[in-house]
Amino acid sequence: MVAIAHDDDTAVVIIGSGAGGGTLAHELTRRGIKVVLIEAGRRQSIQSFTQVPGDAFAQVTWLDPRTQSGSWTVAQDFPTLPSWTAKTVGGTTVHWTAATPRLRPWEVSSRSTYGAIEGTSLSDWPISYEELKAYYQLAERRLVVTRRNGNPGMPASNNFKVMYAGARKLGYKAVHTNYMAINTRPADGRNFCIQQGFCVQGCKTGAKWSTLYTEIPRAEATGNLDLRIECMATRIEHGANGRVNAVVYRDAQGKEQRQKARLVCVACNSVESARLLLMSESSKFPRGLANSSDQVGRNYCHHVGAFVWGFFDKPVYGWRGATLAGIIEDEEVNEPKRGFVGGYHLELIMLDLPSLPLAGLPYGWGRDWAWSLENYRNMSGIFVVGEDMSRADNRITLDPKVKDRFGLPVAHIHVDDHPNDTAMRKHAQDQAEKLFDGLGARRVVRSRATPATHNMGSVRMSADPAKGVVNAHGQSHDIPNLFVSDGSQFPTPGSANPTLTIVSLALRQAQYIEKQMSARDI
């Protein structure tokens, strides 16, 4: 690791060390580019990770306040946790469950495929699927994804045995242990999975890919990375020429610091990326930095997410084993005759105690509600992950009243469910219920919508500068040396767990940035 001077204006400053920022930091530093990587969280390790569920949650979760509104049930059920993201070195790649399906070709041209749907702001991606596919292949090698490139699949857990048997009975064909960025044998300097369960915790063998284990240490080894932890970016500054030139942040002691920059890349996870741009408003950019399109914060997507729990007479011990190692792909099709456009996956899931009663079961209390917990041993779980509709007014704004510990406005999340989302959630939960019923489940319990772990779309890409914030390379239309490097770039979310796509875009963006820097375009 190298110390880069605060007034060194030749460095690239990346904000956020997760799937996008961590990958980009590695890709730039290995090309000889100096990078200051600013991360709000602390640095954990396989030694420091805890497997006590409540402690593990507190260890890596972003707990700074956020506010919310809208018709989505998350606003009632999880008033303080609309979005479940991470604040730690490695970002959400520390708490992710490592499922890495790809988007489908039609999902990057949703507007053309679905047509004009009232109440949506659908937009085709400015990248062709063929081009994206080339980067998927690179990313899948980087992450050592199972069932790709000749890698074996993950072994079947008890929980997956239930999913598989029920799915086959229901007639589903594409059912397997998922595409997982979890080693099944030692690879790339990381150990293999010993089925510890609850992958939302930091992985204590390093079998689960994270920028914490690979990209960041490798970036450090180049001698070109200055990682600054417990540093919270509060503002991106620009010069009279309209180009960004510095990032202001609070260090671990709460003291304000300013790092000069040749180039700034924002990768704070959609909610905070939009918030940072909005907080960086100036007389030149009165609506927020890079926001001449008025699209910063808009089109926020979070996936149609929900749980369905099946309870059986016999034990499942669903906590044993990799959490998301199971998928049904058959419903990931666009068949409007189901009553909605777009598709969804059914993925394997189990929650810890106390997350199950707090977030996995519908609101309730008393004897009937507690029955589910009494049968914790005998339950199996399915997690719905589907494409939600992009909507201009589903957006991140700055809360006019609530401030964080630095006195800065917190992010306000507004989401109204589109009728398409509601119809898809019902269809998916109906299918999951049929799956469990087919195996003779004693009871099936459905959750309502879950806090967003997949946050996308709030700083969308577009070919037309009037319709989006960044171009096909994540480069701001307004400010050529400002980039967005996380899932907030997605024009629409598709139905794939977003990390693989975020990594793929970061690999692509790094090539573009290197070329532009060499050509002195930026």
Partner: protein
């Protein structure tokens, strides 16, 4: 009331683990005691009964519910508004609540369900009760796995009441072929 409790303004909750309890093997003694910093013994007993009404598990030890009261008490010790909220809630439920039959307790809580006291106690109960080692033992959750080598050779795939998954839909178990 014993002398110790008489001299204090705050309370103490005590009890005995059931003779056959798996916890009796883990605990140094079958007797348990929880010191309260701010709440009285009567208030502690009311909060335990609130927790048991919210999350009734007949064979789950009182000791688990006492942890909820202890955690609520710790919050009250750190925050005057929380103390007032909890104290007011207990007062409203009345001294008979802790020993009332379950249907009576359920009715009493339904009447105050939308209020801050109940909602606070509901989240407190769920977050505390279900994360205690006592609860883990009761519900069967086997807890921390890394030090025991994960579940790879401790039953992650030991389910036998459904057919095994073909290899093409899964993958080999490490160490076995």
């Amino acid at each position: 009331m014993d002398r110790r409790d008489f001299l204090r303004t705050s309370g103490i909750l005590t009890g005995l683990l059931a003779a056959g309890s798996p916890l009796a093997l883990l605990a140094p003694s079958r007797a348990w005691a929880v010191d309260l910093k701010k709440l009285t013994s009567a208030e502690g007993a009311t909060l335990m009964a609130v927790a048991r009404t919210i999350a009734p598990h007949d064979r789950l030890e009182d000791a688990a519910y006492a942890l909820v009261a202890r955690s609520a008490d710790a919050d009250a010790a750190g925050d005057a508004a929380t103390l007032a909220l909890l104290r007011g809630g207990c007062q409203q439920l009345g001294s008979g609540f802790a020993t009332a039959a379950e249907p009576v307790r359920v009715q009493a809580l339904k009447a105050i369900e939308s209020g801050a006291f109940f909602q606070t106690m509901r989240v407190k109960t769920l977050g505390t009760l279900y994360s205690s080692p006592i609860a883990y033992a009761y519900f069967g959750y086997e807890g921390e796995a890394f030090s025991k080598g994960g579940y790879l050779f401790r039953g992650f795939n030991d389910l036998r009441w459904l057919p095994d998954v073909p290899l093409e839909a899964s993958g080999p178990v490490p160490g076995k072929s």
